[in-house]
């Protein structure tokens, strides 16, 4: 069995565990935001892209309407189309594997595949990370949702503070150079200035517009902001 744990498989498994675990925080926060356990589980099973899921519940928690939550989640999902194209070029999945591969195309599986140079390893990395995260993310979402349901008043447990921390933690790994930091600060300011004046959920769309215009006309590197929440580390680091 030992030789079956290739570097890509090991990286995929460690990423699946690290990412899957924080499904607990998604589950607990979704329930604290007023979602039922069934709705929370449906988001992880069907939407299955962490950033968009957090965005959806975050907009609703802040008092936004369903259409604003939909827009924020969908805009955050655009980067998955870029990952889809990368995976398609690497693995060329055919037939029924394609829609399945699409469902597990997320930051983590794309990054695991991209961290390998051998095509067979890319394939293993993608599927192990993708399916591994899918299984654990859904399991821990359910655990978190049931836990959140049992906790009662979310504010008493500081779950609104946990949501703030979660979004900052999702943003943090993407702030590797000066330009992303500038984008983040400008978009935070736009949100802050817009909050008192427009209906809940609209500030985030204004910030998204600013960010899109920045990207369209900007000259920065093409892969900015496309980092996974949990970076695939090299094998040596992973076994430390």
């Amino acid at each position: 069995m030992r030789e079956r744990l290739t570097p890509a498989v090991r990286i995929g498994l460690s990423i699946a565990l690290a990412t899957g675990l924080y499904g607990i925080s998604f589950g607990a926060l979704a329930v604290a935001s007023g979602f039922s356990v069934a709705q929370t589980a449906a988001l992880s099973l069907l939407m299955f892209t962490g950033g968009s899921q957090f965005a959806f519940i975050g907009v609703i928690a802040a008092g936004g309407a369903g259409n604003a939550a939909f827009a924020a989640a969908t805009l955050l999902g655009i980067r998955n189309a870029v990952y889809g194209a990368q995976i398609n070029r690497m693995l060329m999945p055919r037939g029924w594997l394609r829609p399945l591969a699409a469902q597990v195309t997320i930051d983590e599986s794309a990054a695991t595949a991209a961290s390998q140079s051998d095509p067979a390893e890319q394939r293993r990395g993608f599927w192990v990370a993708g399916i591994g995260v899918y299984l654990l993310w859904n399991l821990f979402t359910l655990v978190g949702a049931l836990l959140g349901d049992a906790l009662g008043d979310p504010r008493r447990w500081g779950l609104d503070g946990a949501a703030v921390a979660a979004f900052l933690a999702l943003l943090w790994p993407r702030l590797r150079s000066r330009e992303p930091v500038a984008i983040a600060i400008v978009c935070a300011l736009v949100t802050m200035l817009a909050l008192p004046w427009v209906p809940p959920g609209v500030p985030i769309l204004l910030a998204a517009t600013v960010a899109a215009i920045w990207g369209w006309f900007g000259q920065g590197p093409a892969d900015e902001g496309l980092e996974p929440d949990v970076a695939p580390v090299s094998d040596k680091e992973a076994s430390r």
Binding site: A62, L159, A165, W172
Partner: protein, 100 residues
């Protein structure tokens, strides 16, 4: 539309976006401009969501215990704490500040 309706619609949109990547010509999706917009959108949206969850109070701003959570989370992230620990520390900070 009900919340369930928007959830389902957003789930369909999420999968469709992923699948679109497999259908369109590679050079189209991998154009530097497309990747850049996808990247800056991700950064901008997450920054906006962080701000909104830290400051919004209905249709307005409130500086409360959540600011403490934001600061504690930033320090934890700078010290390379793992995701789950950062989230727990954020909750603890907000809960403790409310007890004071």
């Amino acid at each position: 539309m009900t919340l369930w309706g928007w959830i389902m619609l957003a789930c369909v949109a999420a999968w469709t976006l992923k699948f679109v990547g497999y259908l369109v010509p590679v050079r189209w999706m991998e154009s530097p401009r497309m990747s850049r917009v996808a990247g800056t959108l991700t950064i901008g949206l997450l920054a906006s969501l962080t701000t909104m969850n830290a400051l919004s109070a209905g249709q307005g701003l409130a500086f409360d215990a959540r600011m403490g959570a934001l600061l504690v989370a930033a320090v934890a992230l700078a010290l390379r704490a793992p995701f789950l620990l950062v989230v727990v520390l954020g909750a603890v900070a907000a809960a403790l500040l409310r007890l004071l």
